[in-house]
């Protein structure tokens, strides 16, 4: 007979509840939705429902691997861990670590503790650097917290949804379903801002197809339209914000028409969108007060050299309209990975401790007391800077857990060259991916289905992850592996090894909750009892928090930050590379594809990189739908298949960043960064496209992956 294990989906940041049906062979036979889960409300998408077979894929790492004479060979855990401990000790002081936003809060917490306590550095970061660091940066500056302010329930109670630079239908499908439910069922208005026509546009009231890189112009233009119409939330601005006058002065010289022209939009459309957002017509709502609007955005806003400015412009708009701090309103950066929120909450960021506590003495004190060590006070290197600092020798050893930077970093040839210069690289993951193939030691980690813990989703809901099957091979939970390394090193460093001796994951969580004020009311036992709860949840009897900023902002008053539209991108089209490359994701693959390439059905659905190109550009290049094409930038090339579609703008190309048949968009993208957040500019670079001569198609993607 099969067993049922309720747990949390390992894919995107929506955090859907799943019920794993485990068959008599200890495998996942079926994945059911969990109607009791308040985030997913009985829904799943294709990846959650059908995409967990990677757990038992033949490619799973089953033993540690150690590089001997240039080759990675199976080793015992002791051999591998001893080697890692010895080399980390030798290279302490030139160490950097990537934590995994796919692993649990417990895994993340232990890894940052190891990095700070044992390695004595704050050089720890995770993939938020590559997705929402500008959002977090801007929100911290303007509001005082980097988290999503509201809940999915608010999308369903909103009168207007402003969806910017994201494609929820592909990347957060269950959120897209909840949006459509609001639109179909309550008449909620939808505004989509995107350079590309996304599926949700089918239901949009207004679609602003802005030119890539013009976000500041779009949102300053909307702000200006709101001001012109007298719809600024005067009471809110007066009572809850600062910096308004200076900001107001900063946009005095920009008209709606000018902004619209920069963005390639119709001024009336831009104005209509602004007024709809500021003052939407009412819908049936349980909430008193004026109809609310939710502002929801993704990486179309952030992955630019001016990513932080873009986020500032968005937040200014929300403050101007007073669209946050009450039900049915709010600001939401949609988080990409299942635990990207939690990984940051747990302290896997270079500039703050768990709970976003900065390196101030009073905030450091509880940690130093608890951990019995003096902690580093200097902010560490950000992920992108760690890679850039390898060549300078500042980073010589890296410990990469559940990440594959050699698919996710920009300009992969450049990144690969950097990683090859490392003295010692440890990769801990499920599969021998591109980065692992370069490692000195590879450690096999458990998947979500094989361990206990928690994930925190995009709406700050902390949810349980439960062990459903036995670990595959000799794989172990990330936090256990990190503890084993740490204990091997403690003696040499005169540290107490008991600091890394937890009886189980719930003990790790308890320590994290004790040190993190907004998690203090949570425990595994409580989550088991009550289901997922949203932080802040400071006490055991606190019900959790659906939306933030009802009374005040963490920084007191919210702040307007003047921003001006800059260059549209670092590398713009020219005669040689006449097209703008925009990268993103598709429904059937997950990020770089390390996991989804190992799900037969997903690969069957999409096995070649779809290169979306406007019909006029296709005609100019002599391309028709389905033609094999080559996309080239100054940094690299990729092979894919032409998808001729007017969903993309003229002179634009869209490519998902999944790696298929050896090709990946990040061979093309540009390693230039937003100065504040250090996010790479994934969304804009110059390319050209060529028809490829037909050639025998690689038949076995799985085989290809194995050969990596």
């Amino acid at each position: 007979m099969h067993r049922l294990v309720p747990t949390t989906c390992p894919y995107c940041g929506v955090g859907c509840g799943v019920v794993l049906h485990i068959d008599s062979d200890d495998r996942i036979g079926w994945v059911d939705d969990d109607p009791d889960n308040l985030s997913s409300d009985g829904m799943l998408c294709v990846k959650g429902r059908f995409g967990t077979t990677f757990v038992n894929h033949a490619d799973r790492l089953t033993t540690p691997l150690v590089r001997r004479a240039g080759r990675l060979e199976p080793a015992t855990w002791d051999e591998a861990l001893d080697l890692v401990a010895r080399r980390f000790l030798e290279l302490r002081g030139a160490f950097g670590s990537f934590a995994s936003a796919k692993a649990t809060n417990e895994d993340a917490f232990v890894q940052q503790k190891f990095t700070r306590v044992v390695m004595g550095t704050n050089n720890i970061d995770h993939c938020t650097r590559l997705c929402h660091s500008p959002s977090v940066e801007a929100m911290l500056q303007q509001l005082g917290s980097g988290a999503t302010s509201n809940s999915y329930a608010d999308y369903e109670e909103a009168a207007c949804l402003l969806v910017v630079g994201c494609d929820p239908g592909s990347n957060h499908p269950v959120i897209a379903s909840r949006m459509r439910r609001a639109i179909d069922g309550r008449g909620t208005k939808l505004i989509v801002v995107n350079p590309r026509r996304i599926d949700l546009c089918d239901r949009a009231d207004i679609f602003l197809q802005a030119r890539p890189g013009t976000d500041v112009a779009v949102f300053n233009g909307m702000a200006r339209a709101i001001l012109d119409a007298g719809l600024a939330a005067a009471d809110f601005i007066a009572a809850r914000t600062e910096g308004y006058t200076a900001w107001l002065a900063s946009i005095q010289d920009q008209t709606v028409e000018q902004c619209a022209a920069v963005a390639g939009l119709d001024a009336e459309q831009l104005r209509a969108a602004a007024l709809l957002y500021a003052s939407p017509p009412p819908v049936p709502s349980p909430n008193p007060g004026p109809p609310g609007s939710c502002l929801i955005w993704g990486m179309g806003v952030t992955q630019h050299v001016q990513g932080t400015d873009n986020a500032h412009a968005l937040l200014n708009l929300a403050l101007l309209a007073g669209q946050l701090g009450r039900p049915g309103s709010g600001v939401s950066p949609l988080r990409g990975q299942n635990n990207v929120q939690g990984c940051g909450d747990a302290g896997c960021i270079p500039d703050s401790l768990p709970g976003y506590q900065r390196y101030d003495d009073d905030l450091l004190a509880p940690f130093e007391e608890s951990w019995g060590v003096e902690l580093p006070r200097l902010p560490g290197l950000k992920a992108t800077d760690m890679v850039e600092q390898i060549s300078s020798g500042a980073v010589r050893a890296m410990y990469i857990v559940g990440e594959n930077p050699l698919l996710s970093e920009p300009n992969l040839r450049h990144a690969e060259a950097a990683f090859k210069q490392l003295d010692f690289l440890v990769v801990q993951d499920l599969f021998l991916h591109e980065t692992a193939a370069l490692a000195d030691v590879v450690l096999p980690a458990c998947s979500f289905a094989e361990k206990e813990g928690t994930f925190t989703n995009s709406e700050r809901r902390v949810q349980r992850v439960r062990r459903a099957i036995s670990p595959v091979g000799q794989s172990r939970a990330d936090w256990q592996i990190v503890c084993d390394i740490a204990r091997r090193m403690c003696r040499s460093l005169d540290l107490d090894p008991r600091q890394f001796d937890y009886p189980d994951a719930s003990a790790v969580f308890d320590e994290m909750a004790r040190l993190t004020p907004f998690l203090r009311g949570l425990s595994h036992a409580r989550l088991d009892r009550e289901g997922g709860l949203q932080w802040p949840c400071p006490t055991p009897d606190h019900p959790g928090t659906r939306y933030l900023y009802a009374e005040s902002f963490p920084r007191g008053l919210a702040r307007f930050v003047p921003v001006r539209q800059g260059a549209l991108g670092e590398e713009l089209p020219d005669n040689e590379y006449p097209l703008v490359l925009n990268t993103g994701r598709i429904l059937y693959h997950w990020h770089g594809g390390t996991i989804t390439r190992r799900v037969q059905g997903l690969l069957e659905r999409v096995d070649t990189i779809p290169v979306a190109i406007h019909p006029a550009d296709a005609e100019a290049a002599g391309l028709v739908e389905g033609d094999p094409v080559m996309v080239l930038s100054r940094r690299g090339r990729l092979s894919g298949e032409a998808v001729v579609s007017d969903a993309v703008q003229l002179h634009n190309v869209f490519v998902p960043f999944v790696k298929l048949q050896g090709s990946a968009a990040n061979f093309l993208t540009n390693n230039v960064y937003d100065p504040e957040s250090r996010i790479p500019e994934y969304k804009v670079c110059a390319v050209r496209i060529e028809k490829k001569r037909p050639r025998r198609r690689l038949e076995d993607n799985a085989g290809l992956n194995r050969s990596l």
Partner: protein, 485 residues
């Protein structure tokens, strides 16, 4: 003046736009439906399921063959096809059966027996003035005191329906059912064609009492003449309304006689019944408390407010006051519309219409496909709400088809079973699966277990269409068992 159309969802434009598209291209194609779906922001599969649900839409270029009505009355009067013709279902001109399969305006001569409702059309708005003088509350209580019951077939008290909707305390939707899809019935078309101002005054009175946020008139898509007459009346009487009524043409389907299926149709959804509760008066069109009234019910309001409660109640019975329009057709010399007091006998009605065309009257199908056959021995039964006979006959919406010695009752019963099978909306299992099996068993003469099947269909179906579908069969088996052996 606000416009009802403005208060409706984007999706509710689907049905009118499907009609436009069909009129333009001659038929509906996947391309044209896809384009409409995109315009209305509906997924294509949802638009497609709506479009294909209606029997009146065609999905191939129109046939050049001349349509011939094969409704029951036309069949009884010898309708037959030549090779240049094609069969269509009842086209609601039973008053001149056998007839071509195209609707025509109902001629004045078809109004054979006129009471207060069919009296010459109103020249002023005295009834409305009276209602306005009374005010909302008193007018409502007049409707309640009049005992007026719905004339669509269910005979639910109109006043009670109205006050239930008003008691919800939310803006009300008023929906007029002018779909009239029951073969053999042409009373609403007759009213709209010949007495449009009578209807319009009734509608204005209803609006006066209900103060609806929107008024929708759902009219049979084939009833072009009635539609034209209605539109003209609405144009001329526009000033009577605070909210301009919107007219939505249907795509056929007997099931639209069921209120909640009608509401789905208006909303641009698949026209199938909803479960109850909630009842439409609680949560109907777009979730609003909704009053659905038949054209005839509404027209009676004009009579009521002109004559006053007492005079109105002087006709009919205490339980069922007033007159009723009976569509009488089949084998008799004077087919047409007869306005008689509720409670008069079936026999009197048959006599009024001139008795049999040849030989004897052998049966009347009372209530059409949802009714039952009665032999002359039962003709003294009164035309009243509810069953006229336990085997199935009802006054219903007033469709009475007369069979004389030339007729085959078994064939007529089979035709009704076929009609009910064809018209099943397909939502619930007993009706969708059971009714065709009833027909097939009957045709094959396999009577064993048939009564069990009739019981299942008659008790388990979701809506009245299925629940009443056994009537014609059960009654024929009851009175003429020998015909089926």
């Amino acid at each position: 003046m606000s416009d009802s159309a403005g208060a409706m969802s984007l999706r509710s434009h689907l049905l009118p736009l499907l009609h436009e598209s069909e009129a333009r291209d001659g038929f509906l194609s996947t391309a044209s439906v896809t384009a409409l779906a995109g315009r209305l922001r509906i997924p294509i599969a949802e638009a497609w399921e709506v479009a294909t649900s209606y029997p009146d839409f065609s999905f191939a270029p129109p046939s050049s063959l001349e349509p011939v009505c094969m409704g029951l009355s036309c069949l009884l009067l010898g309708a037959a096809l030549t090779s240049a013709q094609r069969a269509v279902g009842c086209r609601f001109r039973c008053f001149d059966a056998p007839a071509p399969g195209l609707e025509v305006p109902v001629p004045e001569e078809a109004l054979r027996h006129r009471g207060p409702l069919l009296a010459p059309d109103v020249a002023d708005w005295a009834g409305l003035d009276r209602a306005r003088a009374l005010g909302q509350t008193a007018a409502l209580s007049a409707v309640e005191q009049s005992g007026l019951r719905g004339r669509g077939g269910a005979y639910f008290p109109v006043g009670r329906k109205w006050s239930a909707a008003l008691s919800e305390g939310r803006p009300v939707a008023l929906v007029i059912n002018a779909e009239e899809g029951e073969p053999g019935v042409f009373k609403d078309r007759s009213l709209l064609c010949r007495r449009p101002r009578r209807f319009l005054e009734g509608l204005a009175i209803a609006a006066e009492v209900l103060r609806p946020a929107l008024i929708v008139i759902f009219i049979n898509g084939e009833a072009q003449a009635a539609r034209a007459s209605l539109d003209a009346a609405l144009d001329s009487g526009a000033r009577l309304f605070a909210v301009r009524p919107t007219v939505i043409p249907g795509g056929g389907g007997y099931v639209l006689g069921e209120e909640s299926a009608l509401l789905n149709a208006i909303e641009g959804r698949k026209p199938v019944p909803r479960t109850r509760p909630p009842f439409p008066v609680q949560s109907g069109l777009f979730g609003m408390p909704t009053v659905v009234n038949n054209v005839e019910s509404i027209a009676h309001l004009s009579v009521l407010f002109r004559e006053g409660v007492e005079t109105f109640r002087s006709r009919g019975t205490a339980e069922a006051p007033g007159t009723k329009l009976m569509s009488v057709s089949g084998r008799l010399p004077r087919p047409g519309l007869y306005e008689v007091s509720l409670g008069s006998s079936l026999g009197d009605l048959v006599s009024l219409a001139g008795g049999p065309l040849s030989g004897e009257v052998i049966a009347v199908l009372a209530g059409g496909p949802s009714g039952g056959f009665l032999p002359p021995s039962e003709f003294d039964r009164p035309l009243l709400p509810g069953l006229m006979h336990p085997s199935g006959a009802v006054a219903g919406s007033g469709g009475m088809v007369v069979l004389d010695s030339t007729c085959d009752i078994r064939a007529a019963a089979l035709a009704m079973a076929r009609f009910n099978a064809d018209e099943s909306c397909g939502k619930c299992t007993p009706c969708r699966e059971g009714v065709p099996r009833v027909h097939d068993a009957l045709q094959a003469g396999e009577l064993e277990g048939l009564s069990d099947l009739l019981e299942v269909v008659g008790a388990a179906s979701l809506c009245q269409l299925g629940l009443m579908a056994p009537g014609p069969i059960r009654s024929a088996l009851h009175f003429w068992p020998e015909l089926f052996r």
